[in-house]
Subunit: 315 residues, 2 copies
């Protein structure tokens, strides 16, 4: 089985390795690649039965209406907020995404960021490069024994929790739903407002929804423990930036994040000023392993749909 | 019970926090602090019943012979190679050390060093500081699923093994003795020369003895897998430096170490040249937690000896 026509929008040449481009070519009688802003999109979708899109490509009710042959929409990524999956469902169009491919990559990054900070690794290497091999003047600490809070015990959060247990941290979490299986491993549930003031290390792993926007609000940010390290590998919309800045000014806590494009230039510049705010590029999901998993699942979703046993359908 | 006279040699003011200095003062009728090269040492030891020393202070047969009242020698550290513990024993003098105080600190550093390297964290932060938040151009990988070899499954090595299991690595080890308890957790024993060529990550945790000097010899270094990352937080005397350099030149593996003073300036300069050789200062044992544990055990050893139930006696 093949698709009659695959339309790909907003998926750059370098987003997929050549072996996966070849696989996709083999899955359609015809394959058309378009940029996000191409004027041809409407025309090409008229007779397409498969549409696959990258981040930031809108697939709203109107676009779906104007694609009468469409049977399948594939998202090259986890978040599919730009796709009207409900409307697609009403038209019997399957929408798929790629969940969890970067679980390990994100979880390991969290520990890399923590250890880099609490062991002052960057400064240590720089001192060594200048020939200073002294061990004095470091104020460094360990993960073991620390209260390690995880907000959101989903795919990524639960993996962070497991690794933190390996380090011997006292792992506690808040999540919308209790996770008894993880609790049986020694991870304790706490009410969110009891959890926050207790944590030496605090890692955010919430999906962005209307309910979670501004989740780390002023009241909660004020209650973060002195000397705590807060790590956010989730969207920064979870955090009240003004309140965060107010707290950063005091210099009594550290905030670490990997920034993609969710903050305005202005906010980014604001936060970059603070020595106790460590900003990384969005490198949480770019390991070799995650890239392969992502492409495998992406193409696998298309193949499985054609075989009649769809995977990672979200609608 | 108190000591009549405590002589402290080569223990600088900043080596102990004031609370511990006060504790020691309370443990002796008289406390004398001397530098390593003091000309007074011989004289002061004539009537001392307690001697405590820092690193690099020789306590050989002669010095013990000239200290007729001595009952106790305390080492402020783990290695006590400078103390003739056998001869001390023949004179019924207890020698104590401080084992394992930096177990967590060393093990966590190993993962900090690994993650810093395999996720290119330093470069990522530097790019972000210049305003470059792109996610392209990183060739980064994960710990999960990698073959993680540990040479020497003692105090530090076994802790590294446990944390590596938490990360989901395929953990294998070689050690002089089999450790069945750790094997039951999923850590596999391998013959050393079978282990080395298999490992993506390889961490050395051997004590330096006549048998382990040059342990990573030319033959073994040649067999290290391409693209492997080797971490040495143990003395560099374990490694054949000429052979290491030969391999570093090829650029097909990475070596990470924390240098204290075991390498000559010349060798240090030699290794620093290589981009695939990451050198840190000796920051493996300097966490706040390790510092407190070290001092607690140090003073505890003295107290316990006075109470008649000596701890951490090595002879």
């Amino acid at each position: 089985m093949k698709f009659n026509k695959i339309v790909m929008i907003g998926i750059g040449e370098t987003s997929l390795d050549s072996v996966y481009w070849r696989k996709i070519d083999a899955l359609g009688e015809k394959v058309v690649k378009l940029s996000k802003d191409s004027s041809e999109i409407e025309k090409q979708l008229m007779d397409a039965d498969c549409l696959v899109v990258g981040f930031g490509v809108k697939v709203d009710e109107n676009r779906i209406k104007n694609s009468p042959k469409l049977k399948y929409i594939g998202m090259l990524g986890t978040g599919y907020g730009n796709i009207d999956a409900n409307y697609a469902n009403s038209k019997k169009i399957a929408v798929t995404n790629i969940p969890g491919y970067s679980r390990e990559a994100v979880a390991e990054l969290v520990f890399g960021m923590i250890l880099d900070h609490i062991r002052e690794l960057e400064r240590a290497k720089q001192r060594a490069r200048k020939g200073d091999y002294s061990d004095s003047g470091y104020f460094v600490s360990e993960i073991k024994g620390k209260t390690f809070g995880i907000i959101g015990l989903g795919r990524n959060g639960s993996r962070v929790a497991e690794i933190a247990l390996g380090f011997g941290a006292d792992v506690r979490y808040w999540s919308r739903n209790r996770k008894k299986e993880l609790e049986s491993k020694g991870i304790k549930f706490e009410d969110i407002d009891v959890l926050i003031p207790k944590c030496d290390l605090l890692s955010l792993h919430l999906a962005l929804t209307r309910e979670t926007e501004n989740f780390l609000n002023e009241k909660r940010i004020e209650k973060i423990k002195n000397d705590a390290v807060v790590i956010n590998t989730s969207p920064m919309e979870l955090v009240n930036l003004d309140a965060l800045e107010k707290r950063l000014v005091k210099g009594d806590m550290t905030f670490i994040l990997d920034h993609s494009d969710e903050m305005s230039e202005e906010n980014l510049r604001k936060l970059s000023k603070y020595k106790n705010c460590m900003i990384y590029p969005p490198i949480g999901y770019i390991t070799k392993e995650a890239r392969i998993a992502k492409q495998d699942i992406f193409v696998g979703n298309m193949e499985n749909f054609l075989k009649g046993s769809p995977t990672n359908k979200v609608n």
